[in-house]
Symmetry: C5
Subunit: 355 residues, 5 copies
């Protein structure tokens, strides 16, 4: 399960703009991958130090700098200096405990998103924060670098030059990155949907105790997912509306498309939540039902055998003068009486529809 809070406390009391990394530190080094392209040219390289890629800044082609591993504070500071990024934004990039948000500084836009995976077991949703800085002719993306990313298709498309992507500007690249992150949510929803359906079937056929655990786990997963996706709605809605100078008019329909997808994701999450809370109701009812069944068995047994045992007890008493005991047919008659009592009881339960 996800940890509920990150160790954000270590930042408390520091002056604003102090760069402190909050999150799980990756062991490997920082990877800086640069792709620089326009319709006719394409250049791709991985750099060791961040200064090497500042040469792309002045060139008119679109530059995509992807930084994998944000814990290296020095790198971040240099980029911030070169591209004139506000210190509070640098602080936010380092702090992986952000909700998705967007900030428009006029000459660049800062976007925070959550890239979601299912972990290896397929049980838990793992979240990785992706920060994007969209400028006039560049996009800088920051990843935590915990796992791979979902951008390989975009790299491939850029290399091959197929589709529109090479013909369009940095805003379209930003759109592509956001789109592939949102598309990935559908994969997670599919997996979760399968799990919901699996639990629903199991709930009907054989409601065991650990189903409750599974339902609760799924519910928490949904709370987590919702928290990651819900604010996205506002983020993308901001990009789609008229008021952002860096987004070209032709790119807007694309953002509207991502917006629709986001709404769809949110809708599906809410549907899942509804269904999961319905499952809890069913689980509780089925417990009560089974308790009922158990109680009925107990009651039937007790109601039949208690009178019989009493009768046997009566004829086991040691009174001197008990005429029945002397009768020739006493014993069979007593057995017959017992049989009749049992039959009457069973009939009563039959009529009450307990058996």
């Amino acid at each position: 399960m996800q940890r509920l809070t990150k160790k954000r406390s270590k930042k408390a009391g520091l002056p604003p703009g102090t760069l402190v990394h909050i999150g799980d530190r990756k062991k490997a080094d920082v990877k800086i991958a640069v792709i620089d392209y326009d319709e006719s040219n394409f250049y791709e390289k991985e750099f060791k130090s961040v200064e090497e890629c500042f040469i792309f800044k002045e060139r008119p082609a679109v530059t995509w700098i992807n930084i994998d591993g944000i814990h290296h504070i020095e790198t971040l500071e240099k980029i911030g200096d070169c591209y004139g990024i506000h210190p509070l934004i640098l602080e936010d990039i380092l702090n992986t405990d952000q909700r998705p948000k967007i900030e428009d500084f006029g000459n660049y836009v800062y976007i925070v998103l959550k890239m979601l995976y299912l972990n290896d077991k397929g049980n838990d949703i793992v979240s990785e924060q992706v920060s994007l800085i969209l400028g006039e002719n560049f996009v800088i993306s920051f990843q935590e670098g915990l796992e791979g990313d979902v951008f390989n298709n975009i790299r491939e498309r850029l290399r091959s030059g197929k589709g529109k992507i090479r013909k369009m500007g940095a805003d379209h690249l930003a759109y592509s990155l956001i789109d592939s992150i949102v598309d990935n949510y559908f994969i997670i929803l599919e997996k979760l949907g399968e799990r919901v359906e699996f639990l629903e079937e199991k709930l009907v056929s054989n409601p065991t105790t650990d189903i409750l655990q599974s339902i609760h786990h799924l519910k928490r997963e949904m709370i987590f997912l919702r928290k990651s996706v819900w604010p996205l709605r506002e983020v993308i809605s901001f990009l789609e509306r008229e008021d952002c100078a860096l987004i070209d008019k032709t790119t807007r329909p694309y953002f509207r498309d991502v917006y629709d997808h986001t709404i769809h994701v949110i809708d599906t999450i809410e549907t899942f939540r509804d269904i999961i809370s319905g499952m809890l109701d069913i689980y509780l009812s089925s417990i009560s039902n089974r308790m009922n069944a158990v109680m009925k068995v107990l009651t039937i047994i007790a109601t039949i055998f208690m009178p019989l045992t009493f009768l046997a007890g009566v004829y086991g008493m040691n009174f001197k003068y008990m005429p029945e005991l002397e009768w020739q047919w006493g014993y069979p008659l007593a057995l017959l009486l017992m049989l009749m009592i049992a039959a009457v009881m069973l009939l009563y339960f039959k009529r009450k529809k307990w058996i």
Copy 2:
């Protein structure tokens, strides 16, 4: 029950505007039916290939192209080229996992709706996506082609030339199509309403375990229905308001009418949800009540027979000196004592209103 998610994942990572069919593929061929009409003329034909119907584009009469079966991507591409439809829209037409929405591109409007049926057994709601493209003098409708459609009445009205429909433009045709889809929701609500009432009566007369299943099923049905209808509100509200150039002023009252119907449908769904959640409460209470009844039977039996059995046990003890055993009237007296104990117990239960 509806599957919770569609295989949308196969689209993840593809460039925007890539045409991939998401949904259940129909075996049969694509059917292209064209109706071209104005007040005095009427022309209707079914075409094999889509190119044949492009001749209607330049003519002033209203053209309705109905395409049954959207899995044939080539057909879609040709229509998109001919009518200048945005690639993202073509992508949306193919993706049957859309929520109802509307997009206004100035010279045409794209509308997605859900056509709902009850399946053959009458248990489950089946949904088919209908996409409409409304232009100056044409309407193109795309259906998944899984089952028939609800447009036959409109075809009949067009053929006969009765009513206003032949005198008015493409916007009125679009209205008619949407109206017949929304009208069909009422039929489904009627059926579901009957089922709700049936369950309510059964709940009172004989609350069995499978009622819980039925309630849950109905609840999920409602979640599904709601998800299909709720966004429609916004769609039609958009058409009714001032800001869509393709909708004539005289058609607006008609859209307001459909809007009212949609609100009515949503209202009814919410009412059903309220009632269904009330049924769950009743079900749970009735389980508790029956448990109570079972427990009372058990307690009454145990409370009566345990003291009696104990008494019989006492007089079954083998102590040498037990004066009662020697008495002439010992046995009848013991029986009398037992009878009295039972009577006292019964009186106690009577006073407690357990019997």
Copy 3:
């Protein structure tokens, strides 16, 4: 209980503006009652055919045409023709499955309301749809004609000429009609309030099983009431605001007054809903409490008599060498032991506050 849905399906597929009556048909004939008045004149008559009352149309005095029984489609068509009413409005008048709404066509306003009664037994709320058409100098009201109406006071006031009503225009008449419908809601709320209080008291004194039925019934009643009243808020708020040309400035405070009443009705409904849902909680707790009481009785009895019976069983064993059996005081000692065990158990329950 109210039927959840009306047979609206018979309209599906018909062209818009087709006049189909949806609702319970009344056997009697249509009654057309006309009242024509200004400050000094008063004229009242009941007509057989609708054409006879068209002469009032051109006169400056205020005309109130009340039509009782809407199933006679021909009558409706003639009125529609004469007063220039949109076909969709005529359709809505016939369809008694409408939610309260208002539509402003500039030269007339169409208002739908629900007139509510308690049925003869006083159990169920019965609803009758009232449609009003307010024009420059006329009001046409359409009733289903299932029962009487709540307008007699207004007729009386018009006849007597007391109060302001004869001095003011058609808008004031419309206000009076709406006001008397809303005032009638208070009577229903009073009755329901009494029932809520009756159930609350019974719940405390003697919670039987059929209380659950009553609570559920009341809850459904509230859902029904709410559905009828909630949209009214918007309707009257529309009339009260500036933008309706047919409402004179001096009439506006009156509509504000009705608006306040409507809010009050809605408030009271919400309060009732809150209280009813609290009653369900209490009911469930009281079931659990009684179960607890039953269980305690069972446990006390079992816990006392099981050890005793066991002891009696031990001394009923037939071993050859059981020294206690031979003792002179064996039997009294055994009885004493049993008594002590019972006393200890009772003390234990006392300390546990079970008895």
Copy 4:
């Protein structure tokens, strides 16, 4: 407990503006108290008839007419005539079943508030309606006159001439009246808060059945309180905003202060509601817990003694050939066996943490 509805029905059907008193009638007479003041002068008198105080109308000093007992309709009519108050407002003053509201008629403002008390036992909240009419240089306050009021402090302040109140206009007087009513809510909240805390403690230490009654009673009290206070928010927000001509700019911060208090009261009510609903959950859980405890005792007793009793029964059988019965050590061995069974059972329960 408060009655849920007032006898509003007796007004149904009467023409608007008809003066009918709705509420509990006070036996005593109407009291008319007039205070007339400016910075240097102060005049206070109680009048028998309302005409006597009309002389103050033309004078520039601020006049506060407080009318205690609204059932005297004639008095009301005369005031209405003299000060030109709309008949609908007079009707509202008489109808004590109003929600707090404000109406601005330009030259005067009508405000309805609820003055709340705890009754003598301190159990129930009693509500009294206060109507204020604020004009250019006068405030008329109408009370039901059921109990005293909360205005004594203001009278004292006016008499002594301390503070700002004598230097400011009628709007400040209205503010003072409203403020003292809202301040009084805090006293009620304090009392209810103490009761909530008392119940919480009792719930933990000794959850008896009548706690449920208390919780329910408190919950209803909250519903009632909320209904009285919630609309106040809008009322005072209206007075605080720019658009009321009778409120001077310097008085506005004072109304903002009352507004804050109102929000605070609402906040506290919502907090109480949250806590009370949490208490219900705890109560239900504690019932279940106790049931569990009872069941465990029963099960432990039954599980230990049933096998033992069976064993005793076996050796009580009368078969001719039962070798154990002849053994010298048969009886002690049987007892030992029984002891061992009991020990094993107890160990099992120990391991299961039942004892």
Copy 5:
């Protein structure tokens, strides 16, 4: 646990602007600490009497007056006089039962916040009210002085002259104070998050009765936290938007940053609430589950031993003619029969999956 209400009642009836201290009185004296700085100068001193620090008022450097202990009313009055603060604001500063709010008086802004701590045991959240008055070149902060504060880092930063803080105006100082209060909320959330996770684990491994108490306690803590933080959103949103003249444009991004943090805190609180309410569901289910388990043990034991005991009872009867008793193999056969009955019962339970 927090007390639900403060003794606000002692203020009821007093004229507005009367200074009454509401809250827990600190024993120690009032401490007045002044820091006066600009980019190059820094002056810090603690004063005994408040008049001494009025000299800073006219100087252009930024002055921060921190007053620890608000119960000394005289001090407050003097400051109010000197800086021209509205009497209602002084009243609010004294009243520690405020919700967070902001009031803009043009030349100064009044802000109320809640500083939160965990108490020594780490169980309860303790709240201390902080009032800020932000003027052109000064900030006055009022603390209750119950415990230390969270401003030491800011003092240190001011002393050392590191960072931007000395270069910027009073608005940035106000931001820093607010920021350090909000940052402190994250520490509390971390602690509560750990407690939530601890309870979740315990709930799964060993759900004891006192977990319910803990959950309830945590829930109340959340209600309290939410009440303190929720209004903050509006406060900071006000500061961040365009309309406050005292906030410089360059400081606005910083307030946007605090705003994001506040939203994040609120989000986390809501997530915790969701999870806690899920825990209650699990707790209730686990009680039911355990009850089920207990019932099964009871039923199994009863169902096995009741028939056996009956059989033993039958052969313990004293009828003269009971042929089985005379059989050579009667006893072993009876035992065998008993064994078989027990086996059949066990098989039945096995098949029912009860054991």
